[in-house]
């Protein structure tokens, strides 16, 4: 018996309950004198259906969340002594192996006997668990059905109860966003703390050397990988600055031209172009940067006698700038449109030309909004991963030369966590510390920008 089949059965029972509840309340009304039904009959149906399905579904969902932890604990306790004595890190690997075999993801390897036993145990426990949860679920479904049936009477305020339930569900849905933030902050802080017990915070934040590769073996006591954040930060900054030099003027001027000058025909071409640019996945920009722009920049540079790295910051920055153009332009467009028309008319009424109106009245009025837009764009550029992962380098050079290869925070996070991870080596954990710093930087930029935007909106509303 599989839990999903049981669930389907309960769902079918709930549908049946819906019709039954509706019928029941109508029938009850007929038997009583002066009885009138409080709610529409279908609400009694919903009431019954909810009683039937919600408790059962909740218990079954809970089981699927906790199941792996319970089963793995049981599997582990049943394994030979040698395994139980392993370090937490090795155990994670063993567990991953067992999981791979159990899910059939291990390919054609043959497991060693202890593992094979564990896999069998895993399967057995999995099956037992499925049985238990199926039976419990089915019981709850039937019990809920009975309770719902028994409680229905025409005086019951079925609509209010169903609606209250609906609102509770909506409240839960709206807290998911908060839970996500809590999850992000929690996991980043927790893993970063583990990193900082192995590597001093101060050295991380102010170190100028980044070379995680030397610390690759966890058992090298006192392994001397250098995790200095500064070169990554300057790398991110360099590429971001280049991107902004491309994105801000182009985005802003496009927005101005589109809103005040462009003929409908040009607008009907340029608007979709910007939308397409905004919709292109970053991995595509990355491929474009690595395969087309970077060689072009290198060749152009060497033609001018410059020494340009093949993974230059310039190429990645320029492509990232192109990616951000539509973002800047759409934000700037909103901001420019929020400037009241009466200000433009005031300027025209004094005999301003269009560009004078824009430069001397509209843009100054829109300045806070534009600053906020640029901050959001910077936050986006700093957090962008794929373009730099594909077009920027891995070597952490502390330089502001746009022709040199630099690496960024995001590239390092990606390269540290792709492939095998060891959750007790500073190398893997450092990625979370980088993630924490990245999160804090972008969060600050976003909060300030959103506050500025809100203030700006209030001014003209």
């Amino acid at each position: 018996m599989s839990p999903s089949l049981v669930f389907l059965a309960i769902a079918a029972l709930a549908v049946f309950g819906f019709f039954l509840g509706r019928r029941r309340v109508l029938a009850m009304e007929g038997t009583r004198i002066r009885a009138s039904i409080h709610s529409l009959p279908s609400y009694y149906g919903y009431y019954m259906a909810l009683w039937c399905i919600v408790p059962a579904a909740a218990v079954m969902a809970l089981w699927f969340v906790v199941e792996p932890t319970i089963i793995e604990g049981l599997v582990l306790s049943a394994m030979p002594e040698s395994y139980r004595a392993m370090s937490a890190n090795q155990l994670t690997l063993v567990m991953a192996d067992i999981r791979n075999f159990a899910y059939g993801n291990a390919g054609t390897r043959t497991p060693d006997p202890a593992i094979a036993d564990a896999v069998r145990n895993y399967h057995g426990l999995h099956e037992t668990g499925a049985w238990i949860v199926s039976i419990v679920g089915a019981c709850l479904g039937v019990a809920g059905f009975a309770i719902g049936f028994w409680r229905i009477n025409p005086q019951m305020r079925a609509r209010n109860r169903v609606e209250r339930f609906a609102i509770v569900v909506m409240i839960i849905a709206s807290t998911i966003a908060v839970l996500t933030t809590v999850g992000i902050v929690g996991s980043l802080v927790f893993e970063s703390m583990r990193f900082f017990t192995k590597y001093p915070v101060f050295d991380f934040l102010f170190g100028t050397q980044w070379s995680p590769q030397t610390a690759i073996r966890a058992d090298q006591v006192g392994s001397s990988g250098a995790f200095g954040f500064i070169p990554l930060f300057t790398g991110s900054l360099l590429i971001t600055v280049i991107a902004m030099f491309v994105a801000v003027p182009i985005g802003l001027l496009s927005a101005i031209y589109m809103s005040d000058y462009a003929s409908p025909r040009l607008r009907s071409v340029a608007k979709p172009v910007l939308e397409v640019l905004a919709g292109i996945p970053t991995v595509v920009y990355g491929f474009f940067a690595a395969l087309t722009v970077a060689p072009f920049v290198r060749d152009a540079g060497s033609a001018m006698g410059l020494d340009v790295a093949s993974e230059s910051a310039l190429a990645a920055g320029v492509v990232m700038g192109i990616m951000i153009v539509p973002f800047v332009s759409s934000l700037a467009d909103d901001v420019i449109h929020a400037v009241p028309q009466s200000l433009r008319h005031g300027a025209y009424g004094l005999g301003s030309t269009k560009s004078e109106t824009i430069r001397q009245v509209v843009l100054p009025a829109a300045l806070p909004g534009i600053v906020a837009a640029v901050m959001l764009a910077i936050s986006r550029a700093i957090g962008e991963t794929m373009i730099v992962a594909m077009a920027a380098g891995l070597a952490a050079n502390l330089t502001f030369n746009p022709f040199a290869a630099v690496t960024t925070v995001t590239v390092q996070i990606a390269s540290l966590l792709v492939g095998d991870q060891e959750f007790d080596s500073p190398k893997t954990l450092s990625a979370f510390a980088l993630g924490l710093v990245l999160f804090v930087i972008t969060l600050c930029l976003n909060i300030i920008a959103l506050a500025v935007v809100r203030k700006y909106r209030e001014k003209y509303d």
């Binding site: 009241p340 004094l350 005999g351």
Partner: protein, 269 residues
């Protein structure tokens, strides 16, 4: 009937000995396909206040905006006929609209100071038109304009505060000062007091009367009392037609057209 009205209205100008500053002939305005104004003929005389009155939606604001081509910035707005400013058609292709608006300034219904300081608001026009070359000249123009707008005493100690920090009536006088600073010949006012309280309104009305000595003023108003108080001549618009134009006293005491009669006695509008 319309023709005779405007004829009779236009005739007395020689008798008064005042020069015609702006002259509208057969002006029609369309918004997309909808006609907003029908063949308007109107003379605006120098150093007089001409009031345009009528019920809302009658086209008086539209007509006002044709006089410095502010309708150009509205999409789908089209106009026919002629408007002369000192014998020159302002819709002539050779006329530069920027220059025109410098000569025919405008004050809007809602005060719309730029989000700059009081000083910069007033200095803006002279700066873009290159009327000032030095800081001293700018200071002088700003002071003079604010004085004329009757605002100098109130703001002279806070010239570098934001223009939006002023009260509504002050803001509107700031906008008038801003318009004066460009040194226009004609000032168009589109219901300049509709957003203001009675005290602020009284101040602006007083100001309009004083400005008449230097400028030619056309004011749109929905208040007949205001028209009676500030204007020398009054034009009554109704449903896109110019029904009647004449000396203010005559329009309010002895109108020729029964629609005018009906409007000023409050039967509609």
């Amino acid at each position: 009937m319309l023709a005779t009205d405007t004829q009779t209205a236009a005739a007395p100008h020689a008798a008064h000995g005042k020069r015609v500053k702006m002259k509208a002939t057969e002006v029609e305005v369309y918004y997309s396909e909808k006609r907003a104004l029908n063949k308007i003929n109107l003379d605006v005389r120098e150093h007089e206040v001409t009031a345009l009155i009528g019920p809302s939606g009658c086209g008086k604001s539209t007509f006002l905006r044709t006089m410095n081509r502010m309708n150009d910035v509205i999409d789908g707005c089209r106009m026919a006929g002629k408007i002369l400013l000192d014998q020159q058609d302002i819709y002539d292709p050779n006329i530069d609209v920027v220059q025109l608006r410098a000569r025919v300034g405008m004050v809007f219904q809602k005060p719309n100071p730029f989000p700059k300081s009081i000083y910069d608001n007033v200095a803006y026009g002279p700066r873009i038109h290159g009327l000032v070359r030095s800081r001293e000249e700018t200071d002088a123009v700003v002071q003079k304009s604010l004085e004329r707008a009757g605002l100098w005493k109130e703001v002279k100690d806070r010239l570098h505060e934001g223009g939006t920090s002023l009260s509504g009536g002050q803001q509107q006088r700031l906008c008038i000062a801003r318009a004066i600073a460009v040194d226009p010949e004609v000032i168009l006012m589109d219901e300049p007091c509709s957003a203001l309280d009675p005290i602020a309104t009284a101040k602006i009305e007083e100001l309009i009367d004083e400005l008449r000595t230097n400028y030619t003023i056309v004011i749109v108003t929905h208040s007949m009392q205001q028209a009676a108080r500030v204007s020398q001549r009054t034009a009554f618009f109704h449903l896109g037609d110019l029904v009647e134009v004449g000396d203010t006293a005559q329009i309010f005491t002895n109108p020729n057209d029964e629609r005018t009669q009906g409007y000023i006695t409050g039967r509609f509008g």
